[in-house]
Amino acid sequence: MGIVQMAAVILLLILTVKPLGTYIYHIFSNQDNRTNKLFGPVEKAIYGLAGLKNRTEMTWKTYALSLILTNVVLVMVSYIILRMQNVLPFNPNGTDNMEPSLSFNTVISFMTNTNLQHYSGESGLSYFSQMAVIIMMMFTSAATGIVVAIAFIRGLTSKGNTLGNFFVDFVKAHTRLLIPMSFIVALALVALQVPQTLHPTIQATTLEGESQQIAMGPVASLVSIKHLGTNGGGFFGANSSHPFENPNPLTNVIEMLSMWCIPAALTYTFGRFAKNQKQGWIIFSAMLILFVASLSLIYSSEMRGNPAINALGIDASQGSMEGKEVRFGVAQSALFTTVTTAATTGSVNNMHDTLTPLGGLVPLAQMMLNCVFGGNGVGLVNMLMYAILAVFLSGLMVGRTPEFLGRKIEVREMKLVAIAILAHPLIILVPTAIAFMTDLGKGAISNPGFHGISQVLYEYTSSAANNGSGFEGLRDNTSFWNITTGLVMLFGRYISIIALLGVAGSFVRKQWVPETIGTFRTDNKMFAGILVGTVLMIGALTFLPALVLGPIAEHLTL
């Protein structure tokens, strides 16, 4: 039954890929289409307000610079709001200003699409902050990721010097994609009993006569963009396991599909731009293969349960239910965990800290790969980076210097790709090692031993992959953790974005090499296999020693 549930959701996802991918293609292909009539006037007004008179095409450097500066401005505005939310409007609960290191962490966390939360939403943020900082950044960071993918795709599939205009792409990503979709999803969630209100916390008296505070707020709107934007930061501390954020199995499926559909559809968009739909499907299938493998591991591991508890004679027929919601069960929890870490969203509907060791290995591994669907836009870009690597490694074996989509892969591209593949292990393993060498780091661990290694490793992996889910159990609201994870999130986001936009900028200027029978093909099953192999060899083997000391050791010693 559990398997049928999971298969049904995967099937639904596959069905969305083509229509959504085509729609996204039309948004960014800059050709005339029917949606122009609907959205054109709104966008014109925005361009007018923003003073975007000549919306010329940009080189990769201008594009990257515009992206960074836009993000910097948003970061500064948000930081100021968090630091003075107490005096700003929409603060019915009288929430106090946020402390500097936590504000730094929070702002970086949301701008980088990570949404690592070292605060608890219901007590740490005013409604205004939730809307003007959190929800605003949920849109802008997702749009940032999407336009990176679009610019990268353009670099790979067009000729010239330019990758498009950042501001136009950025606006369109909002007006035509994220805002309409999140509106629809929010309405659906409201219909399914998710609250959406500006009223303060409700005082209730329980049956025992105790008084209880029930936190509420504009939940549905946040939850919809939280998933569509692969953000993951919950309205409540308990995130999507909270009954107001995710009340029933149906909302659970909607939330999973919301965070999954854009990263998956972008593969189709890529195929459209490349004028080779098979090329897009090959990338999609490589992602799906890795996804299904991960899902199988976590599901079987959770169903098997914890041998130590099973040994006590406790009924294990439901699988390991520790830290899971009864309304979801193992299948819906395992799938949610796999989706949220594959798409690097980071919302959780169960506590990852209490997954079985091998079950906990799955979210870790997916974030370490960071390309199994991945966050909006950046996931595709990362997978295409692995495709470039795969072509470079195995393309030589057909006796030609490697070429991808008709462009030769040369020193310059390899240098930039090298920066991107180097950055990920560097910003995960080095801070992890530092945390274990200092008392500031070690002090936060709640479970010593191998599980403690997993906790720390998870925190930095989640930050580096811009996922944002927590293994929890780590006492991480200290200056040490706020600052180190803040930096890791920053580097994890922008180093690879800049390096890979550089790759796109270099590809777009290249002379095309015509395809012949002697060309290394990247649109057949064999390449899907090679791509999966490359991801595992380069991406996964790097982290194997650390994983052996964390979840694997824990599993073996259980």
Partner: protein, 676 residues
Amino acid sequence: MKPQRKKLLSRDMVIQAVKDSFIKLNPVTMMKNPVMFVVEVGTFVVLLMTLLPGYFGTQGRTGLNLTVFLILLFTVLFANFAEALAEGRGKAQANSLKKTKKEITANKVVGNNIMVVPSTELRKGDIVIVSQGEMIPGDGEVIEGLASVDESAITGESAPVIKEAGGDFSSVTGGTRVVSDQITVRITSEPGESFIDRMISLVEGAKRQKTPNEMALNTLLTSLTLIFLIVVVTLAPLANYAGIQLDIPVLVALLVCLIPTTIGGLLSAIGIAGMDRVTKFNVLAMSGKAVEASGDINTMILDKTGTITFGNRMASEFIPVGSEQAGTVAEWAAISSVKDDTPEGRSILELIKKQGLSYDPSIAEHSEFVEFKAETRMSGVDLKDGRKVRKGAVDSVKKWVAAQGGTIPPDVDEKGNAIASEGGTPLAVAVDNRIVGLIYLKDTVKPGMRERFEQLRKMGIKTIMCTGDNPMTAATIAREAGVDEFIAESKPEDKIAVIRREQAEGKLVAMTGDGTNDAPALAQADVGLAMNSGTIAAKEAANMVDLDSDPSKIIEVVAIGKQLLMTRGALTTFSIANDIAKYFAIIPAMFMLAIPEMSVLNIMGLGSPMSAILSALIFNAIIIPLLIPLAIKGVAYKPMSSSQLLRRNLFIYGLGGVIVPFVGIKLIDLFVHLWI
């Protein structure tokens, strides 16, 4: 080819390579190869721990550290040996070339006198006279005279070649010997820059620069090395937290096993050996880049004459006219050609043999041969019985027959035109006053060319034939040879235009040429192969020179280029795939003492933690020398489509790269475990 070029290894070369592998330990030179440099640093660290156990607190482990140190040292030495060996083969060749470069004296023309000067004093523009038996003192151009020259010192080809003033056969190379007659040569190179000098420096690898693809691969290997450096360095604090103390030599061993030492150690050897294979093939590549580019060729431009066809018109059919029989035509054609030494004449006799026809040679005995003359456009014999036999251009023969009062059969013109329209040349054969028939002369495609073009097509390479012939003739040959495209009545500018057109589409173009008017096209092409017999200008414009002057060799050069790239890719894949097995050997070994449950990961069932680590390390070291023959010879290459090639290589080197180390490490462990 000279025998020493065929030998893969000689004793001296191995001894020299062993010496060089120690010299190459110098860290300054090692730094150029980051992968092996990291290994060297690791070796040094372990050496310090072996020598100063007190300082590092490693007393009691000196034996083990010493073992690790030795294995690491051998890993570096093996990699150096591979490179030294590849270089050595070039050096041996250079030495044999240097022998030909001994001091030569030159007869320099000064005013009206001749001065004897050493060849080293010759400058560009000097005029020298070289007589029979003398060495040509420097590269130059024949400005007067004609001589046959023995160029075996460079080409290995013992038959002398004719060099004459003017035209495309005027260039001579210093160090070659005039075997007959006398020529006057204008020197065209400064001392130290002659062809032989360049050749020596090329094969010695002195000027060897990394090729673009090699640099890109090196970037990737360096970043993988850095990644694993991060992995290993950060592992210690993690393990420490879990209560496991990791020894530095063990961490160094893990690092060395994980970084791509196999490809890192063999990469430059593969490049050198690729150039060397080209040289062994008697083609001189001016840079490794050219060899690499030849693997990428999309389009090949070939001259028809000499490359695709023999260039001589050969008899291919006897066609009777009027009431004559085909046999009669053959017979008289043969009689007219018995004493004819031209290629056409010989081809007639060959055709008769091939068709199983016969003629009576006695008829031609004591006859008088009439040579071909431009005015008559006929040749033939005057038989002793008074009959006269002629063969030649149809019009001329018709006139000759008419002059003797003969009648012209009505179908002569018709059949003659039919041959011409197919691109052939008709020759008429007449005896006294009757025309017996026509000989169909055809430019013949060299045997095997069709199959080679077929192979090229399978490799995705388009062939374009250039010829001065009219479109009809060109089309016939193109069809027969199976080339994809042809350019008839082509002028030298046409070649450049075609190259530019193809390059504008992103294609890489290769061409061959020998004449001075080919030079611009040779320079424009991505791979230009000039013939050694060609002019200096052509040779300078090209990036490869074929010493045997066989233009069809360009096809083999492409295959060598592809083989070079494939070897690089195959060994990289193999090297990276090896990591899986090494992980399974080392990871459980590192943690097994502290976490006994880790032994389930020890799927190879290795004897003990220490023997597992040492076995992985030993495997990592000896795989380098084991793969040297493959690196130097290159992986087997047969022309086939890219998917077939990929499947094959992925199976051998990808899957092989996963499995081989499991087997290898287990076998080594069985042995090592006897002690540890």
